[in-house]
Symmetry: C2
């Protein structure tokens, strides 16, 4: 009889060694069964499995990682953990990873270079097995530098290199389609709320807008372009700017849905009806866009699929392989915020 009674449920921390002991085998045997890296006799296997079940043993993923030189985790550098846009990508990544035993570490850069660098350092010091970078402000050079330490998949830009894969949606084509849609509806005075001028996506979208105008023989009027920052408040400002400059327009192409939401509000505040007085189209097709009043016409981006693809490609990269991805093209979703121009 023990002199002191054991505490009811002391730490509840069961180690591989304890399993080995209660099963009456060596730790290596338990390990072999866990990893499946070698044959083990049936009786020992049974004994071990029973011990595992009885003790409710759960392998320590970190110790395993230390021994194997991997952490079974990947880093995801996003810009805002609560962004309705990137959120869809995060979902895609998460869903794709379920069942692989690999966990995503989400960190936010807040569109701030310094923050992004710190977060990357953090990820590296946790020895993530790979990293997914969702746009942001890191330079290609910096990405390449990080890629010497860890495989990287970058979304939102195009670059090649060892240990690097990239993927992006065709912003140019999407913007072209959006503008074309407005033109087909008879609009000629089409304003554009552009995104940040140093953001590759918005630059492409501006190009697509110009190209569509050009093809339709509509002269480009720089006064109809106003810059915003992809967030709602800047969409409000943009419309106000346009109106205060007394620009006349019958349609607005906002470079993303969030600025379109802002634009919608500004128009409402001025008693300008959508779509009766002004047609409005966005870009992204956020989940919320079908609940805008009126439901927002926009360009659907396959963001969820992009997240999935990024995860899939990264896993391949980690295993030392390569893989091709083809993302669906951006597609027009014509809802109720755009309509034919009344003569």
């Amino acid at each position: 009889m023990a002199r002191h009674s054991e505490p009811a449920a002391p730490q509840e921390i069961v180690t591989l060694a304890m399993v080995a002991e209660t099963a009456g085998v060596s730790p290596s045997t338990v390990s072999r069964i866990l990893t499946g890296h070698a044959r083990v006799s049936d009786d020992k296997r049974r004994a071990v499995e029973e011990a595992i079940a009885r003790l409710n043993y759960q392998p320590n993923v970190l110790a395993r990682g230390l021994a194997q030189g991997r952490t079974l985790s990947i880093g995801v550098l996003t810009q805002d953990i609560n962004s309705p846009f990137y959120g869809e990508a995060l979902r895609g990544i998460e869903d794709e990873l379920v069942g692989t035993g690999i966990v995503p570490l989400f960190v936010s850069g807040h569109w701030n270079l310094q923050d992004e660098i710190e977060r990357m350092q953090h990820l590296l010091s946790r020895r993530v097995d790979g990293v997914i970078v969702l746009t942001g402000r890191l330079t290609d050079e910096q990405i390449r530098e990080y890629a010497r330490r860890v495989p990287i998949v970058v979304a939102g830009r195009t670059m090649k290199g060892h240990n690097i894969a990239s993927m992006r949606v065709d912003d140019f084509k999407g913007a072209h389609r959006a503008t074309q849609h407005l033109i087909e509806l008879g609009h000629r005075r089409i304003a554009h709320i552009a995104g940040p001028q140093d953001h590759a996506d918005s630059v492409e979208r501006l190009k697509g807008y110009r190209k569509a105008l050009e093809e339709a023989g509509i002269p480009f009027d720089p006064k109809l372009v106003v810059y915003a920052d992809f967030h709602e408040p800047s969409g409000v400002l943009a419309i106000n700017q346009l109106l205060e400059a007394r620009q006349s327009f019958s349609a607005v192409f906002a470079s993303n849905d969030q600025t379109a939401y802002g634009a919608r509000l500004a128009l409402y505040q001025r008693n300008i009806r959508v779509p009766e007085d002004v047609s409005l189209i966005g870009f992204d097709d956020l989940p919320g866009s079908r609940y805008v009043i009126p439901p927002l016409s926009t360009i659907h981006q396959p963001v969820y699929e992009l997240g999935q693809a990024a995860a899939r490609v990264l896993l391949k990269l980690i295993e030392g392989g390569k893989s091709r991805v083809s993302l669906p093209e951006p597609q027009l979703v014509a809802r109720e915020s755009t309509r034919r121009l009344r003569p």
Copy 2:
């Protein structure tokens, strides 16, 4: 001269031992400087710091964790990584953790008990130092069981226990205030789109609604209550249900903003104006609600602050301490979707 030239940048994996060697000290000394757990002579410190800088050394957080018995990570069990509601809480958690060296592991339960259990197991096998549970379907018993292994902070329910802290916003009071607001505007036929009947939050909100009616001497009419699931599509359904049952009402209190968005759309589709024909109020004050047309009156919940508080309390719990939290009360935000009833 070396016989073979070193590869340009082989693995780039620098260990503490390497730092110790190039600095000409023992590993323990390096460790001491890193952890700050003891005094070290200035010259050795300088040598080590120089070596760290020159080698660009980054400590392996996992190895450190293994040695210390902690992982410097916490788990966060949310329901959907892309939920506009919980997203704010995630931001709060993330921001509160910045600088502590502790990283949050976000996992999603999808309002599915089985998923939640699996995710919790996953977190435990990664030996997180603590867990924050954002509502969900785990029973109090299950939470208590997990708490034997790891400190837990639960948001959205009230429970006490060893290793457990809880915090929640006062749903009853918030719902009471929302209903009261409508009553003050002269409404008496007030419909309520309730949340899931097995969800504590929505039960409380329904109670608050009934209480406010009662206080105003308005008889409770069960026909004016219809159940939804906190998501947009169910808000659309709810309004349609109400209308098809030919219920007359001049105001709607939706149990959260997302169902209010759905309700708004359904009303729009039927040409029922907000707020001219029907007043509409939500609950949560999601960031998007100020961009609804018309801007949505709602009850502001301090979700970001809740996230911050949860993280703060958990850190205390991990250190073995306790702490009191007091969350701000839910507050009425009267915007433009509610107005005085015209006689």
